[in-house]
């Protein structure tokens, strides 16, 4: 493979192909994107698994993540060390899970990780508060935030421990109408197609989370 120089060996590409939802081409393109993020950090040659990471700041400024209120959390939950700096493996992983090919169940697992701000494997009230504040740009009053968070826990918490375990979360999310739609991408179409098409034009692997 490779036009001018070898980026991956055939085996590597095959392995990536089997481990992600991407084709060879897309993996190479992803590598290009990854390389472009930090040209002086990332080597072109990946045949011998160089150990390098791109800092979080560069990643959250990618157009796919730029407007996302949870961008830091997304990147953090995909980084192996949890600090948000992504190795190429993490990077591919992130795009694979966020691609529209990924099944809902997988997305639900990562969605849970993303919303679990304090990484205690529960979505507790403080996580909910943070989520809400990010979603509304802190335009709700503290009382309203409190009310909403309590309602969420009341609705989804089945075992009554005052926080959402993954079972609760999955139970809830799998019944969401957007989640049930076929073809996995629901919300985007209902909402604003512009954001969608823009990404399409950029020829980047489309990303989305749960829809």
């Amino acid at each position: 493979m490779g036009n001018k120089q070898t980026i991956f060996t055939d085996e590597q590409l095959d392995a990536y192909q089997d481990c992600t939802f991407f084709t060879r081409k897309e993996i190479l393109r992803l590598h290009t994107r990854y390389h472009e993020l930090a040209p002086n950090l990332v080597p072109m040659d990946y045949t011998n698994d160089p150990d390098c990471k791109v800092p979080i700041q560069l990643i959250i400024n990618m157009p796919e993540l730029m407007e996302n209120p949870f961008k830091e959390r997304i990147v953090e939950s995909f980084s192996e060390a949890g600090d948000g700096n992504l190795s190429f493996n993490d990077f591919v992983d992130m795009f694979s899970v966020l691609s529209e090919m990924a099944p809902r169940e997988l997305k639900a697992i990562y969605a849970f990780k993303i919303y679990d701000f304090n990484t205690d494997n529960f979505i507790c009230k403080s996580d909910l508060e943070q989520t809400l504040n990010k979603l509304t740009r802190e335009e709700l009053t503290p009382e309203e935030v409190n009310l909403v968070c309590e309602k969420v826990i009341e609705e989804a918490d089945l075992d009554g421990d005052g926080k959402l375990a993954f079972a609760d979360f999955e139970n809830m999310i799998s019944r969401a109408p957007d989640f049930l739609r076929i073809g996995s991408s629901g919300k985007a179409i209902i909402g604003f197609p512009a954001g969608n098409t823009e990404l399409m034009e950029k020829k980047v692997i489309d990303k989305e989370e749960k829809q």
């Binding site: 796919e64 493996n89 966020l98 099944p103 205690d120 609705e155 073809g183 209902i190 604003f192």
Partner: protein, 938 residues
């Protein structure tokens, strides 16, 4: 925890030798693999438990193999691959090694022995057999590993090793007997590995782990099956294309909905209630477009193309007396002059039975279009109402997870444009506010008696003011009839009706609104009441208008009678004059000079068009002044004003939903009433709605502020539709009345010369259809048939109504049941305390084993504390760490809890002689997972 544990072992093992370490490493990898396969055996798609299991592995695995271990790992796998083609002996040895699970130093010796035995006997199935056994053990151990990583349990582990080694030795004795079934098992294993490879991308693991697992699985399969079909790239690619196409198609569909983005934008800032107006407007536009198509396609354009041209006959010519001023702007503005004698109005159409080469029956088409307009509108309104009702029934409006879904699924992850993102943020905030308003309304504890009293009072006040204004209108109309007979009236007396009406329209709605505050309804319901009340008020408006119109029509009819005689006499005289002088045919009279009747139909049409146009003007000017100018003043005068204009008195306007909706509804009523007499009215209305859409959405975005309490509109616009239906019915009545009873004008319009308008149908039946159809028609029109038919319909309505009631009831019942079930489930999980207390009592009755009992009862009390702590402290990280352990220890000794829920999807798992661990397994999805997941953080 696992790490120190592991390293300890490693250190220990280093004393023994490197080889051991490798075994241990392999086994570690293998554990994960067994876990996987087991899981797949249970169920192919990731179940909650399976997923959680995955997570456990995910958590523990990367940390378990860090540093040196990861570095060595790849090498070892390569080694594995290298070994693959080697002679069977080494191969099998390697394999068995790989199949070993946790078994460590103690386990190793017997293991080797079995290997050697197997090699000696050169039986292929041997490793397989062995593998299965260890596999089973692996299952148990896999779980053990998750659950028991504390040092305390180390001893148990050791004991287990002893146990497993013994079992493996027993298996080694079985090795001698190999069978076909085992061969099949091996194939199964290979199949599983293959499945694993193809499902690798669905595993919630870190990429590194996925790669490693993939390599391992592939090498395994290769070993046993040779070449393996790699990469499903092509198939995946096609699937991807399909998904992309689907999405593009969906996008295309959305982009085909007109003004979708505009409405979404309004909705995101002003809430769904304001958006519901615009959606209604769009719907009206669609309906009017169809009406426009029918009217213009079947009436106006045929007349223009095929009918006689302007000036050919009297009804298509401006009379001589009016010609001087016919082109003046003021005349045209009043729809007089050339406008009046144009294709826009009823009077222009000729009464020729057929026109043009195609023999188009224009008069018939005219009547049919008039009736069809109503028919289509009725059908469309009712259909929309029905489908809306369906939708609101089917969709979970009062869903269990309203806020959850808002919280977790409302962000659109495809948004990449900052403007769109801003809109999305606004819309999410708005939707939360809507939800909060609803929720507050639910939680409101109310003084029901006071509330009821206030509501009765408010309704009383409003009925009073409605009655008062009704009487006022009646009074004024009566007076104006008196005035009409008199001369020399002042300006006020001439316009009294209009002035009173507009004053009422100005004063009453705000009055109603302030009265409605007494009622404290939910804003959504309050809007409906407000709409209903203003609607009642405006009905007075409509009534006076119609009243005046019928007066005028009756006058015109009276005048017409005399003119008809006059014209007959005049034409007679004309011909008589000529025939007296010469024998030649007399020259025709110039069409402009013919004496004409007043043509009441055109008058009515003009009246409606004028009304519509003035309504448009008033609406647009009100928006411009009341909203835009106000906003400009408030915004810019605020810099130099005594008080804060923005938050103080004038502030910005809110979007008046009720006023706008009613405006739209009444306007549509005007169109329906007027369309028969002025076909052009539909065209004007289409233009109005089109401009209105842009103009109002601009105005609302530029100069209005959102309502104080943004509330969620009911998803169906059925209340608006109901109003529309009412207005449609009300406007149907006068039109049908005029068509059925009043004689058409003798010298204008398509029905001139007939005694009734519907005679045209009779004429068509008689002339154009064979005789038997006329017979059938007369039978059908027989009252003897019609009355039973009506009766039948009434009965059908009654029956269907009863059926739908029954369905509704059962629906409610089901909903209630679902709710109950949910509550029950919740309670069951929640109220472990209560069940425990009963159990505690029972336990107290037991005399023996007091020590154990006490321990368990004490622990029964414990769960309250962590729960309370969580709720107060928002589950700080510390709490999260400490609690699970407590709960686990609890759970371990409280097997009763297992009764409260069905066994989880996990395998039973417990190994004989390993009793402590069986209990968490039974407990299923609860606390054990918590331990598993909490653990890796230590």
């Amino acid at each position: 925890m696992p790490r120190p544990n592991k390293t300890q072992i490693e250190i220990k093992m280093e004393d023994v030798g490197i080889e051991i370490e490798q075994v241990e490493r392999d086994s570690d990898d293998d554990t994960g693999r067994h876990g996987k396969t087991n899981r797949r055996q249970q169920n192919n798609k990731p179940s909650p438990a399976g997923a959680r299991n995955n997570r456990n592995n995910n958590r523990s695995q990367p940390q378990a193999r860090n540093g040196r271990r990861t570095a060595v790992e790849d090498d070892s796998e390569e080694e594995e691959e290298d070994e693959a083609p080697k002679p069977r002996r080494g191969n099998r040895k390697k394999l068995t090694k790989a199949q070993d699970s946790d078994e460590e130093s103690e386990d190793e010796q017997p293991n080797r022995k079995t290997n050697k035995k197997g090699e000696n006997q050169k039986h292929k199935e041997e490793p397989n057999n062995k593998e299965k056994q260890t596999d089973k053990k692996g299952k148990g151990k896999d779980k053990d590993k998750d659950d028991s990583k504390d040092k305390k349990k180390k001893k148990k582990k050791d004991s287990r090793y002893v146990l497993s080694s013994s079992s493996s030795s027993s298996s080694s004795s079985d090795d001698d007997s190999m069978s076909e079934g085992e061969m099949a098992k091996l194939m199964e294993e290979v199949e599983e590995k293959k499945k694993l490879v193809s499902n690798m991308r669905n595993k919630p693991w870190r990429m590194k782990r996925r790669l490693a697992a993939l390599k391992e699985a592939q090498s395994f399969v290769e070993k046993f099956e040779g070449a393996l079909g790699k990469g499903k790239g092509r198939r995946l690619f096609a699937y991807k294309k399909w998904i992309k196409f689907q999405r593009d198609f969906d996008n295309f569909k959305t982009s085909c909905i007109p003004w979708e983005r505009k409405i979404k934008e309004v909705e995101s800032h002003f809430g769904s209630s304001v958006a519901s107006y615009f959606i209604f407007l769009r719907w009206m536009y669609g309906m009017n477009l169809v009406l426009f198509g029918i009217t213009f396609g079947l009436v106006v354009i045929p007349e223009v193309l095929m009918g006689l041209p302007y000036g050919s006959i009297p009804r298509k010519t401006v009379p001589r007396a009016e010609q001087a001023k016919a082109m003046d702007f003021s005349t045209l503005w009043d729809f007089d002059g050339y406008c009046k004698y144009s294709v826009l109005f009823y009077g222009y159409y000729n009464d020729q039975r057929t026109i043009g080469l195609l023999k188009f029956r224009l008069p018939l088409a005219y009547l049919m279009v008039g009736i069809g307009t109503f028919g289509y509108s009725l059908m469309v309104v009712i259909r929309t109402m029905a489908s809306n009702a369906n939708e609101s029934g089917g969709d979970g409006e009062d869903s269990d997870f309203l806020f959850c879904w808002k919280m977790f699924t409302s962000w659109d992850y495809l948004i990449g444009n900052s403007e769109t993102a801003d809109n999305k943020f606004a819309s999410i905030t708005t939707s939360f506010k809507e939800g909060i308003v609803d929720e507050e309304e639910n939680q409101k504890d109310e003084n029901i008696h006071l509330r009821r009293f206030l509501r009765v009072l408010a309704n009383f006040l409003i009925v009073c003011s409605l009655g008062g204004s009704g009487y006022l209108i009646y009074f004024v109309v009566k007076r104006s009839q008196d005035f009409a007979t008199r001369d020399n009236l002042g300006w006020y007396e001439k316009n009294e009706v209009e002035i009173v009406m507009s004053l009422l329209g100005l004063v009453c709605p705000p009055l109603f609104e302030s009265i409605a505050e007494l009622e404290e309804y939910h804003p959504r319901i309050a809007l409906k009441w407000q709409l209903g009340r203003i609607f009642a008020l405006f009905l007075g408006n409509l009534y006076t208008f119609l009243f005046a119109l019928f007066d005028e029509v009756n006058q015109k009819l009276a005048v017409e009678e005399s003119i008809k005689n006059a014209t007959i006499w005049a034409t007679h005289m004309h011909y008589a004059n000529f025939t007296g002088n010469t024998s030649a045919t007399p020259p025709p009279i110039d069409p402009a000079d013919v004496i004409r009747g007043p043509c009441w139909e055109t008058t009515v049409g003009i009246e409606f068009v004028k009304l519509t146009v003035s309504d448009i003007q008033v609406t647009y000017i009100t928006i411009l002044v009341g909203d835009f100018l106000r906003a400009v003043i408030v915004r810019f005068l605020n810099y130099c004003w005594c008080w804060d204009l923005e938050s103080g008195f004038p502030s910005y306007g809110e979007f008046d939903i009720s006023g706008n909706v009613l405006g739209l509804v009444f306007n549509q009523g005007m169109i329906w009433m007027g369309a028969f007499y002025a076909p052009g009215l539909v065209g004007i209305n289409v233009l109005r709605l089109l401009t209105s859409m842009y103009y109002q959405s601009w105005a609302v975005m530029s100069s209005n502020v959102p309502h104080e309490r943004i509330f969620k509109a009911s998803r169906s616009n059925n209340f608006y539709m109901g109003l529309l239906l009412l207005i449609l019915f009300l406007s149907l009545l006068p039109v049908v009345y005029t068509i059925m009873t009043l004689p058409p004008s003798f010298d204008c319009g398509p029905f001139s010369g007939k005694s009734k308008m519907f005679d045209i149908i009779m004429e068509t039946i008689e002339l154009d259809f064979p005789a038997f159809i006329g017979n059938i028609f007369s039978y059908v029109a027989n009252p003897g048939l019609i009355i039973p038919a009506v009766l039948l319909m009434v009965l059908a309505i009654y029956y269907l109504n009863a059926v739908s009631k029954a369905y509704e009831n059962s629906n409610l019942e089901l909903k209630k049941k679902m709710q109950m079930q949910r509550d029950e489930e919740k309670n069951r999980r929640n109220n472990q305390d209560s069940t425990n207390s009963i159990m505690k009592d029972l336990e107290d009755l037991l005399p023996i084993m007091s020590g154990e009992n006490k321990a368990s009862t004490n622990k029964n009390d414990l769960p309250k504390t962590p729960k309370g702590a969580d709720k107060q402290g928002g589950a700080s990280r510390n709490g999260g760490r400490v609690n699970p352990e407590k709960e686990v220890s609890l759970a371990a000794q409280n097997p009763r809890i297992a009764v409260t829920r069905p066994p989880g999807p996990r395998p039973p798992g417990p190994l004989p002689g390993n009793p402590q661990l069986t209990v968490p397994g039974q407990r299923g999805r609860g606390p054990p997972q918590r331990v598993g997941r909490g653990q890796p953080r230590h």
